[in-house]
Symmetry: C2
Subunit: 206 residues, 2 copies
DNA sequence: CTTTTTCCTGCCCAAAAGTACAATGTAATC
DNA sequence: GATTACATTGTACTTTTGGGCAGGAAAAAG
């Protein structure tokens, strides 16, 4: 698979040339009209303006090209965005030649290159998602302690509804809403509707 | 790098043998005491009981071995858990030989194998995280519209504090807290402290 | 068929929350 | 020095909230 290095600096990245010295460099944007297939593009992000870099990347991905984004300051969050739009690899501008070769091989084999740091952060994100799901379970537990009508009232409060609004949507008197709320406060051991709304949304109280 | 296939079925996975026919198979658990380094273990998850599989995996990872988990029904969520504990690859039991070879190569090169499906799901999770972060950003934007003292008051409310409590923690009169709150309600276009607490915690109102 | 739970509502009251109008002081900006 | 933004507090008022006491009705459980 051919390699193509996209940068605005002519003297950039010796390690890249060490890895793929025989490959071509595109230092003049915009890209040529016709993109050849089976080429792995390496985009030297910070050598370009953000607008240039973004439009170039969009063009490449629109052409179903394989792209590795190289940046001076790899940022896991940014990296994840890149992967989500189809970028195959995200690595440091100054990665050593041997590592660049490995990245290329992995991608040629149909894989995706994740640096160890990116992978770690990705995992942290995943774990955060899992934790969020777990906490959602906590809210279910809370709601399970309530009677059906109490649950309805609680859910309304959890979205910021006032007693009057709840009484309208549930077609009961405001006094009834208050009665349900008092029961809810007791059962869930909270002081007022604010705390109720927060715990139902898995937010810790102070 | 040597391959080692861990399964309880003797006749399992012809494609695996096609890919790594010369490699060894462990069909009798538990694992031998001494784990040789530089071996890539392929764990045939569903051929074992969950307990067996889990303890075997834990043993391998404790020995800092490289492990690929193979399963009949790849599940992105489960896969993420595997990666988070150090598994290098997660793929389908019936993947074709050529793909298995690719997985092996990627891992040998220090990468991690993510199937396309797993990658997609991972991205969805990431996007959810990103969305959460963005929303957190929204909260930051909201807070940015406030003066320093208003911010303090708002944050207290966001954790369920009452006016009296806030007046104590901030060492101001209750009247001042109310004044700040009125200003906050105006600026952030909410009706009362409940809605304020919710939007500051990135929860949609009804 | 009782008993219990849940649900509904009224009147009243107290506390909390929220608002209007007014005033003072301080710091920064112009 | 004047203006502006911010912070502070007061009095007084209205609204909302939370709850005590009391009384029903309906449904589920025993």
């Amino acid at each position: 698979m051919q390699k193509c290095f996209i940068t605005s600096q002519t003297d950039a990245l010796p390690s890249w040339y060490e890895a793929f010295g025989d490959a071509l460099t595109l230092s003049c944007l915009p890209l040529p009209e016709t993109l050849s297939a089976n080429v792995l593009y390496w985009l030297d992000w910070h050598s370009l303006s953000d607008e240039q870099a973004e439009s170039t990347l969009a063009l490449l991905l629109a052409g179903a090209q394989k792209v590795v984004v190289m940046t001076s300051h790899p940022d896991a969050q940014r990296g994840m965005q890149f992967f989500s739009i189809g970028v195959r690899g995200y690595c440091h501008r100054f990665a050593v030649a041997s590592q660049l070769c490995e990245v290329a091989k992995v991608i040629e084999l149909g894989g995706v290159w994740l640096g160890s740091e990116a992978m770690q952060r990705l995992m942290q994100g995943t774990l955060r998602v899992a934790a969020a799901v777990d906490k959602k379970g906590d809210a279910e537990v809370l709601l399970a302690q309530l009677t059906p009508k109490e649950r309805l009232v609680a859910l309304e409060v959890a979205h910021g509804a006032s007693n009057r609004e709840i009484s309208v949507t549930l077609s009961v008197s405001e006094r009834t809403v208050k009665a349900h709320l008092s029961a809810i406060f007791d059962k869930l051991a909270v002081r007022d509707r604010v705390q109720l709304a927060l715990i139902l949304n898995n937010i810790d109280l102070r």
